[in-house]
C-alpha cells in the first residue's frame, strides 16, 4: 500500500504526501465516523484505502474520497471541518495507512438506520462495527 518512492512501478508521480494523506483520511473519518469506536474509525479508513486498490474505484486517494456521491461527509462539506491533530481520528487514519484493516478487505459500509440506497442492501454484510455494516 505504501512504498518508498519507487522509480520502477507505474505509480510514481504521486508526490510526497504522506502527511497530507493522513490528514485527508482523518478528515473523512471525522465526517463519517466521529461518534464510532476506535475500531469503527480505523475500519472506515481501511475501506477508503481498500477502494484505492480496487479496480472498480478511482486509483488515487483523492479520487476515491472526492468521487461524486461516494461519501456523505464530502457531499455535505463535513470533510472540511478542521480536526485536532491529537484526536483519535488522526491515530485511526495512521493505523489504517499502516495496514490495519478491521473489515478484512471491505469496500462498502452503510448505516442501516439511514441508508437510502436499495442497492447497498444487496451487498453481503461481512461485519458490523458500531452503527455501520461493512460489505464487499
Amino acid at each position: 500500500m505504501f512504498s518508498l518512492v519507487n522509480f520502477d512501478t507505474q505509480t510514481t508521480a504521486q508526490g510526497k504526501g504522506q502527511a497530507n494523506d493522513v490528514q485527508l483520511i482523518a478528515r473523512a473519518i471525522n465526517g463519517e465516523a466521529r461518534g464510532e469506536s476506535y475500531e469503527g474509525q480505523v475500519a472506515v479508513g481501511a475501506v477508503i484505502l481498500n477502494r484505492v486498490e480496487n479496480p472498480k474505484f478511482p486509483n488515487t486517494l483523492a479520487g476515491v474520497i472526492y468521487q461524486p456521491g461516494a461519501f456523505t461527509a464530502v457531499s455535505d462539506g463535513q470533510i472540511n471541518v478542521p480536526i485536532d491533530p491529537n484526536s483519535s481520528v488522526v491515530k485511526a487514519a495512521r493505523d489504517a495507512m499502516n495496514g490495519w484493516d478491521p473489515t478484512n478487505g471491505c469496500i462498502y459500509y452503510w448505516n442501516p438506520a439511514t441508508a437510502t440506497s436499495k442497492w447497498i442492501w444487496s451487498r453481503q454484510i461481512i461485519k458490523k462495527i458500531g452503527k455501520h455494516n461493512f460489505g464487499k
Binding site: S3, L4, Q10, N59, Q67, Q124
Partner: protein, 479 residues
C-alpha cells in the same frame, strides 16, 4: 404609553409617506439580494455542469484513443513498437478511468466499466514490460488484446451515443447528481442513470483477465500459505485469545462475529482488561484455521515515553517468538503518537523474506504491544526452497549505477505487485545524501527496483507514496 397607544402611534407613522418608501426600499433590497443569490447559484451550477461535461468529453476521447492503440499494437511489426503503443494505451486508459470517477454517476452503476479501464491499463503495462525486453506477443496475449479491443470499441460506441443525448439536452448532469424528493425529478434521473447502466452491462460478460499485474483477476483467490493447522471452533480460538493477552490481564473476552469471506477466515473478539476503563477495549481477529492472531488493535492513552526504539525492537521480537513467530528480524519502523510500528520479516538461511511481514505496534511508555498485523506473514510464509544465485554479490554490485555509494548488502526475497517472489541482492546506499535501496535479481541480474527513503525529521524514517498495491505485497526496509 400602553400597548394600544403604541400600536396607534406606529400606524400613524406608517401612514406617513416617508415610511412607505422605506418599506418599499427594504423590499426592493431583499428582491435584489434574492436575484443575486439565484444568479450566483445558477453560476455555480453551470460551472459544475461544465466540469462534468469536460470530464465526460475527455473520457470519451481517451476511450477512443485506447481503442485505436489496442488495435495498432496488434499490427505493429516489432516488439519495441508494440511496447511503445501499449505504453500509450496504459497512459490513456489511466486518464479515462480517472475522468470516469469524476462523473456524478453512482459508483455501482459504472463499477464494471471502471474495472475494465483499470484492467486495460494494467494489462497493457504488463505486456509493455515484456515487449520492451524484445519479446513478441504470445498467441494468448494477442487474443486477449483482441478481446479487449472489442470491448473498448463497444464502449466507445455507447459513449458516443450518450454524448449525443447530452448535446441535445436530453440528459442533464444536474438530474444525475440531485437526490431530491420530487417524483418527476426521480423519474428523469433514473432515465439518465439507465443510459449509464446499459453501458455498464457491456462488461458483465467480460472475461477474467489473468496477467502479471496488480489488478489481475487471479490475485483475490490465492491460497494463504502461512495458515497452518486445523479449523477450530469459536470457543477454542477464544482460549487462544486469552492466552495471547495473558490470563492474568484479561477480565473478559466477548465474541463479536465471524468473517467467512476472503482467503483468510476469522473470528472477531473484543477483550476487556482488568483495571482498564469500561470503553477501553482491544479488538482482535484470530484465524478460524489454526487460531493465529490476524490483527489486533488496542487504543489506549500512551503516557510519557520511557523506552527507546532499540528496546522496543527487542520487545517486539521477543513477543513474536513467544507467540510462535520464530526468526523474525526488524526491517523498518515508524514512530509517532508515543508508539512505534515496527515491521518484522522472516529470515531463513540469511535471506530476508520480505513477503513474510508482521507489524507490531508498541507503546513506548511501558513497552506493551498495542497492535499487531500479520496478513503478509499468514498469506505467504512457508519454508521456501531458496534457489542458488546465478550471480555473485560482486557481479550484482557491478550492475548498479556507480554514482550510488553502497553501505551494505545482502540476499532478500522480495514480493512483486502480483504475488510472485524474486530472489534478489539488496544494496543499501547513498546518492546526493539521499538513501536508496536497490534490488538486483540474483538469477538474471535485472535491476528489479530502486527505492528512495525520505526522512521527515519529526516522525523518523518515513515512507512516502501511496500506491495501488496492498500492504502485504510491499515491504518497507529501513537503513
Amino acid at each position: 404609553m400602553g400597548y394600544r397607544e403604541k400600536l396607534l402611534d406606529f400606524k400613524r407613522r406608517l401612514s406617513d409617506r416617508k415610511m412607505y418608501s422605506i418599506v418599499f426600499v427594504v423590499m426592493a433590497a431583499i428582491a435584489i439580494w434574492g436575484i443575486y443569490q439565484y444568479k450566483h447559484a445558477a453560476n455555480l451550477r453551470q460551472q459544475l455542469d461544465n466540469q462534468y461535461n469536460r470530464a465526460f468529453y475527455d473520457m470519451v476521447g481517451y476511450v477512443n484513443n485506447v481503442e485505436t492503440l489496442l488495435v495498432k499494437s496488434l499490427i505493429t511489426s516489432t516488439p519495441e513498437k508494440t511496447a511503445s503503443t501499449l505504453q500509450e494505451a496504459w497512459r490513456q486508459s489511466n486518464f479515462a478511468q480517472a475522468y470516469l470517477g469524476q462523473l456524478p454517476v453512482a459508483q455501482d452503476i459504472l463499477a464494471n466499466t471502471s474495472k475494465f479501464l483499470s484492467q486495460v491499463g494494467d494489462f497493457s503495462y504488463s505486456i509493455n514490460n515484456n515487449s520492451m525486453g524484445g519479446k513478441p506477443l504470445s498467441d494468448k496475449e494477442f487474443k486477449s488484446i483482441q478481446d479487449l479491443h472489442g470491448y473498448a470499441a463497444a464502449l466507445g460506441k455507447s459513449l458516443d451515443a450518450l454524448q449525443e443525448e447530452l448535446n441535445s439536452g436530453r440528459i442533464k448532469w444536474g438530474e444525475l447528481s440531485q437526490k431530491g424528493p420530487g417524483v418527476f425529478q426521480k423519474v428523469s434521473a433514473n432515465a439518465a442513470a439507465q443510459q449509464f447502466e446499459n453501458i455498464d452491462k457491456t462488461f458483465q460478460e467480460y472475461p477474467r483477465l489473468i496477467y502479471d499485474g496488480p489488478f489481475s483477476d487471479h490475485l483475490s483467490e490465492t491460497e494463504s500459505k502461512g495458515l497452518t493447522g486445523e479449523v477450530l471452533s469459536e470457543e477454542k480460538v477464544k482460549e487462544k485469545v486469552i492466552q495471547f493477552f495473558g490470563k492474568d490481564r484479561v477480565e473478559s473476552v466477548g465474541s463479536t462475529g465471524k468473517n467467512d469471506s476472503g482467503p483468510i477466515k476469522t473470528y472477531s473478539y473484543t477483550v476487556k482488561f482488568k483495571g482498564a476503563p469500561e470503553e477501553q477495549m482491544a479488538s482482535v481477529d484470530f484465524t478460524q484455521k489454526g487460531g493465529h492472531p490476524y490483527w489486533m488493535i488496542y487504543n489506549r492513552p500512551v503516557n510519557e515515553k520511557k523506552i527507546d526504539i532499540d528496546k522496543a525492537k527487542r520487545l517486539g521480537k521477543e513477543f513474536l517468538a513467544k507467540h510462535g513467530f520464530e526468526n523474525m528480524v526488524d526491517t523498518y519502523y515508524l514512530s509517532e503518537d508515543g508508539t512505534a510500528v515496527i515491521n518484522y520479516a522472516h529470515k531463513q538461511d540469511d535471506v530476508i523474506m520480505y513477503p513474510d511481514l508482521i507489524k507490531v505496534k508498541i507503546a513506548l511508555d511501558t513497552g506493551e504491544v498495542v497492535g499487531l498485523e500479520s496478513k503478509g506473514y499468514l498469506s505467504s510464509h512457508t519454508a521456501r526452497k531458496i534457489q542458488e544465485p546465478k550471480l555473485t554479490m560482486e557481479e550484482a554490485r557491478a550492475k548498479i549505477n556507480s554514482r550510488i555509494k553502497i553501505d551494505s548488502s545482502g540476499l532478500a526475497i522480495i514480493p512483486t505487485n502480483f504475488k510472485t517472489e524474486l530472489l534478489t541482492y539488496e544494496f543499501k546506499g547513498k546518492f546526493n545524501n539521499q538513501d536508496f535501496i536497490v534490488y538486483i535479481n540474483a538469477l538474471t541480474g535485472k535491476e528489479e527496483n530502486i527505492l528512495m527513503i525520505i526522512f521527515q525529521r519529526k516522525i523518523g524514517k518515513l515512507l512516502i507514496i501511496y500506491m495501488k498495491d496492498s500492504i502485504d505485497k510491499i515491504y518497507i526496509p529501513h537503513l
